[in-house]
Amino acid sequence: MSTQIEQEQAEEQAEADAAAETEESHQERRLSEKKARAEAREREEQAREEVREAEDTVEIKVFRYDPEVEGKDEPRFDDFHVPFFKGMTVLDALMYARDHYDSSLTFRHSCRQAVCGSDALFVNGQQRLGCKTQMADLEGPVRIEPLPHQDVVKDLVVDMEHFYEQMHAVEPYFQPDELPEGELEEQRQSPENREKVKMSTRCIWCGACMSSCNIAAGDNEYLGPAAINKAYRFAMDEREGEIKKEDRLEIIEQEHGVWRCQTQFSCTEVCPKDIPLTEHIQELKREAVKSNLKFW
């Protein structure tokens, strides 16, 4: 479809390299490239055939942008027609488009079962997990865009660095005040306490909440729902002890911590793991007040 520009570049690169090499390998490379192009054409042909034959097809409009390639540095939308099958997810449709129409279509994905958190996308105006969103539930044509309020690296890939920085800022790891006596002693958690932190442990670091948050969009230093939820997960864990909890509250009650939240519930609406983020943020606000107000 639109791989032309890249192919030309690749050819130029190949020619430059080939000058230093033997004539034979140059020919081999040309032949293999030719073969690859023929295969790509075949795949696209096959896709068109499948689309014609399929009972039901879906149209996806995918955001395309590549700052490094001339002619692709203007953001635009590409349309792909994909044969529909029962149970098809947004990620399935994207993968079909990539494998059959345009191999340069770039997006992150890994486990395809809502565990790795790589494929948070902006689908039909909402942050969703591509692998968890059924095409059947969406109105076509389905618009697929990268997460808003984050820099686009290429196509649907956004720069997650800032999100990870905020996550690390709350020290997202278990730090108990004291360790048990024996070396093999377990650090047990009560079932009630486990229930309390259960939902907050589900976070898969997909960044959907941060992208949906109006406040995080305007305040770059705001920790964001995911990081505060992480802090909640450990602050509420009774095994860590009072001293560490004080430390954690100090981090989250800073100027750009919990108090930035204005309870718009955007994060709670988009969270693919159904974590009650706003509830956790509000509870930490109350904890912060309680630890600062000591009349007794």
Partner: protein, 129 residues
Amino acid sequence: MSETYDRGAVEDFGRWREFKPGMWAWIFHKFTGWVLVGYLFTHIAVLSTATGGDVLYTNTLQGLEELLVVRVLEVGLLSVAVFHILNGVRLLFVDLGFGLENQDKSFYASLVVTAAIVVASVPTFLSGV
């Protein structure tokens, strides 16, 4: 991130059709809050005519109440104030951690109650203009 470059449609602020109840509640709360702050100034301005004597104050109020625009604005002020109060109560519950899973329903409820009160008040406000 606030300093991202323009991505066209993706950063477009005109996505209000996709806003969820919680977002609308926040927008309305901000808007009504600013309206009430603005009203405070006109309120003080009108009341301060009392420093010029009884007659001036009475005349000012009567003069204002004779205008249809003022009557309509009063209905608007009531609706803004009622919504702000009701949503404020809703936010109080949110802060206390009660019924967060029903925050959208409580927003709709505050809208409905506001509408009911405003409609019921219209005859009182607009009578005898």
